[in-house]
């Protein structure tokens, strides 16, 4: 009787496994047009979120700024084969020390962050970190976790929903990514910077300064402190940098960077 049961149990699981294996050969994502829908959803939410930031904050009008940002980030983009047309960077006027990626592969940088950074390397470190969030699709994951995947899918067919977009914007600007996502993005940012021959110590120092200096800032300017354990993250990066082949980096102080800093302080 015992033997009969085990034979039946074995056969049962073999059938289940076989069925699962055969079915898993079907490309369900293609049938359900998953990629297409996710792209549609991201594009729409990206547009809406960007519209929200445009109404809530002043965007720097100077066309010159686009050129400056493109010049500053050129090495980072070219050496890592990122497409400028795909990932766009926008600067908004705000004292908040913050930069974040929004759906639709856009990065928004507040002037407060540019003023806070003390070197071009620090600024590029933040950009590399945000690009890593985009490349690893952390933005959509974070929003879907907070807002709910079903709500996001429903938005594909909806018209502009201010309340939801406001909630998405709040999620993007004021809540942290998972610890694992932050660490992953930091690790990738380090690689991007090294690949582009940009001194990663700039980014590491920036994280240390966040940890040290944000405590002295007024509460409303401390949004970046929601990024968990800046100090711990900088230490982890320092350790992983030590394990890599030592390299010497030239200090960056391009004219574009100086011009952008001057524009921000006007």
């Amino acid at each position: 009787m015992k033997q009969k049961f085990f034979i039946h149990l074995f056969l049962f699981f073999m059938v289940l496994f076989g069925l699962w294996f055969i079915l898993s050969q079907i490309d369900f994502r293609k049938i359900m047009k998953a990629e297409e829908r996710i792209e549609q959803m991201e594009e729409k939410i990206g547009k809406w979120t960007f519209r929200y930031f445009q109404t809530e904050y002043d965007q720097f009008e100077e066309k010159r700024l686009d050129t400056l940002v493109a010049n500053i980030t050129r090495d980072l983009f070219e050496n890592n084969k990122f497409q400028n047309e795909e990932i766009q960077i926008f600067v908004f006027e705000s004292e908040e020390i913050n930069a974040f990626a929004i759906p639709g592969k856009k990065i928004i940088v507040f002037s407060g962050l540019i003023n806070f950074t003390q070197s071009e390397e620090e600024f590029l470190g933040v950009i590399a970190h945000e690009i890593a969030h985009i490349e690893e699709n952390h933005v959509t994951k974070k929003i879907s976790k907070e807002i709910g995947l079903s709500t996001l899918y429903a938005l594909i067919f909806a018209s502009y929903q201010f309340d939801i977009v406001k909630e998405i914007a709040r999620t993007i600007t004021s809540t942290a990514y998972d610890r694992s996502m932050e660490k992953e993005a930091d690790g990738l940012a380090l690689n991007y910077l090294i690949e582009a021959n940009i001194d990663p110590m700039g980014y590491i120092n920036l994280l240390t300064r966040f940890a040290e200096e944000l405590d002295n800032l007024p509460k409303e300017l401390r949004l970046l402190s929601t990024h968990p354990d800046s100090f711990e993250r900088s230490e982890i990066l320092r350790e992983s940098l030590e394990k890599k082949t030592p390299a010497s980096y030239q200090k960056r102080e391009t004219e574009s960077w100086q011009e952008m800093k001057a524009l921000m302080s006007l």
Binding site: M1, K4, H8, F28, R29
Partner: protein, 144 residues
């Protein structure tokens, strides 16, 4: 699944047939109540199993078979739910393997549902129903 007409249970009275049939209905209670929590079925079946553990052989046999089917189902369904949660809250994504598992899960649940309804009807008539998978296991557990 096959009917066992040469019953090892002797004469089955009306009360036993009803209780045996109810044990299967217990495992459908959450579906009937419209609740999407499979664990409710397991709890209901377990309570019914405990309440009837001193019942006659026919009743004990069928409450055990119903309970075992729910344990198996909860195991399979929980794996699917855990997988789904790691996708929504973790760093996994929707893959063909996941959709294939979801399809298998639906098939198993459907078969179990049909088998349960069938067993509930047959046992209500006083007929013994021994499932291909769980029948031999139930025989190991329940002694006359």
């Amino acid at each position: 699944m096959h009917l066992n007409h040469h019953t090892k249970f002797g004469a089955i009275n009306e009360t036993s047939a009803e209780k045996a049939s109810n044990s299967y209905l217990m495992s459908l209670i959450a579906i009937m109540a419209g609740i999407g929590l499979p664990v409710i079925n397991l709890i209901a079946t377990f309570i019914f199993f405990m309440a009837n553990r001193k019942g006659d052989y026919f009743v004990r046999w069928h409450t055990t078979q119903a309970l075992l089917s729910q344990i198996l189902l909860v195991g399979i369904n929980s794996t699917g739910i855990a997988w789904l949660l790691t996708i929504i809250f973790g760093d996994k994504s929707f893959t063909s393997e996941f959709f294939a598992y979801a399809a298998v899960l639906i098939i198993v649940n459907l078969i179990e549902f049909i088998a349960t309804v069938y067993a509930a009807i047959q046992t209500r008539k006083g007929l013994h129903v021994e499932w291909w998978l769980l029948g031999p296991f139930t025989n190991l557990f329940v002694r006359s």
